[in-house]
Symmetry: C2
Subunit: 227 residues, 2 copies
DNA sequence: GAATGTGAAAATATTCACAGCG
DNA sequence: CGCTGTGAATATTTTCACATTC
């Protein structure tokens, strides 16, 4: 492996999030140490995969504070190491755009705050909603986006608008200086250089199920198969 | 390539969903044919990737009904071919479990029906909600799950309950004979053999952004880089 | 003995590049 | 020509297996 180069692979990054969440739960239960085997079992990942993934954070691990042969990982130290790498040790202010069904659900959800991604402002394209109170927030008009982003140091925009306005709003978010977009609209959005996008795509997920089920039933007209 | 063997790769399957959605839009606009290059551009995928992906549905393509050299693909024929493979040419009845914030948003969303995944029943673990009317549905108690699944031929369960009850409900869904679960709970759920799971995981998506942004800013203390 | 960390091997996925069709 | 379909070449990701540490 090149000494310090290469970026963390996408699949690894996703699993790091899962590890971090699992560790949070275990730490809450008072757990002190944990082996790669056990962590992997809880998440359906091989122990080798867990260790390989964790080797990516090794660079930033000061010394051997986390993994110890024969014992496993120190939950607290590992948790902190992962958070430092993933960036969840700091706070990411988010702005929600769109107070339709999804938007409102996200406002009620609350999990965002706990995870370090507090929603600090809510906006909507419909000017008539401006000033209205929804889920504890006063809705701002899109015209004040730039101001809001600067004032609250918003780094992430949550795009919860219909497909028809998604690309326009995405552009506005980029222009306002946002650095990442969580996109709930069922389409690919184009963004400025340097802006990251993560998609939450219900139909892709549902169709994944559709395909898996179709293949499964095709593969087993009656009994079971595989190991 | 082995004549007819091997399963459709996960990444390919996901992209097939995207292609299918894009085609639906284009067909709605009256578009007749489409090249792999153009389809790819719209989705941020290389043309070679598109063609390779489509080669997976070739097996089930009767003749050369879709792609034609020099012309491109016939939108309608390709759309239908993909749907046949992904399984979206048939209807998948779903049952929603959990009428909290997410559950309610999904009920209001409506997109499910259009996509061929109608919600036909709504349940909740809280017995006090049974009989209540929410979003046009009368909430059923979990005790009637099996009956509901059989009566409406439900194949997919939508798991929109808190982490604390997710695994229990997942088991109940499996026992009731469901074939797939769309899991919104922030954890891995274990299911019976033959049951498929697709996860919608907000915190993984957010943390992806967190990591991408961290790396981006680390990589460019000021100016821009890359092509 | 139990577990990590990691090169080397295997499996998967993407890109290249070109023959061949319309 | 423009564009598909696809083997061959690359690149990426996962798994193996084992030396090493506690």
């Amino acid at each position: 492996m090149p000494p310090t180069t290469r970026r963390i692979p996408r699949p690894t990054a996703q699993r790091l999030s899962l590890y971090s969440r699992e560790l949070q739960v275990l730490i809450g239960q008072g757990r002190e140490t944990l082996s790669s085997r056990e962590l992997g079992e809880k998440l359906g990942v091989s122990s080798a995969q867990v260790r390989k993934d964790l080797s990516w954070i090794g660079q930033s691990r000061q010394t051997h504070e986390a993994g110890r042969s024969g014992i496993g990982y120190d939950c607290g130290a590992l948790y902190e190491s992962i958070r430092r790498v993933v960036g969840t040790n700091r706070r990411w202010a988010t702005a929600l755009v769109g107070v339709g069904n999804i938007g409102r659900a996200l406002l009620g959800y609350g999990g965002f705050v706990d995870e370090g991604f507090p929603i600090v402002a809510v906006l909507d394209c419909d000017e008539r909603l401006a000033g209205k109170r929804i889920g504890g927030f006063v809705v701002d008009p899109m015209s004040s986006l730039r101001k809001v982003v600067q004032k609250h140091h918003v780094t992430i925009g949550i795009l919860a608008v219909p497909r028809s306005s998604a690309q326009i709003v995405a552009k506005q978010l980029c222009d306002a200086g946002i650095q990442g977009i969580l996109n709930f609209a069922p389409m690919k959005i184009s963004v400025s250089e340097g802006v990251s996008v993560a998609n939450i795509d219900l139909s892709v997920a549902l169709e994944q199920l559709s395909l898996d089920i179709s293949l499964d039933s095709k593969r087993r007209p009656s009994g079971e198969d595989k190991e």
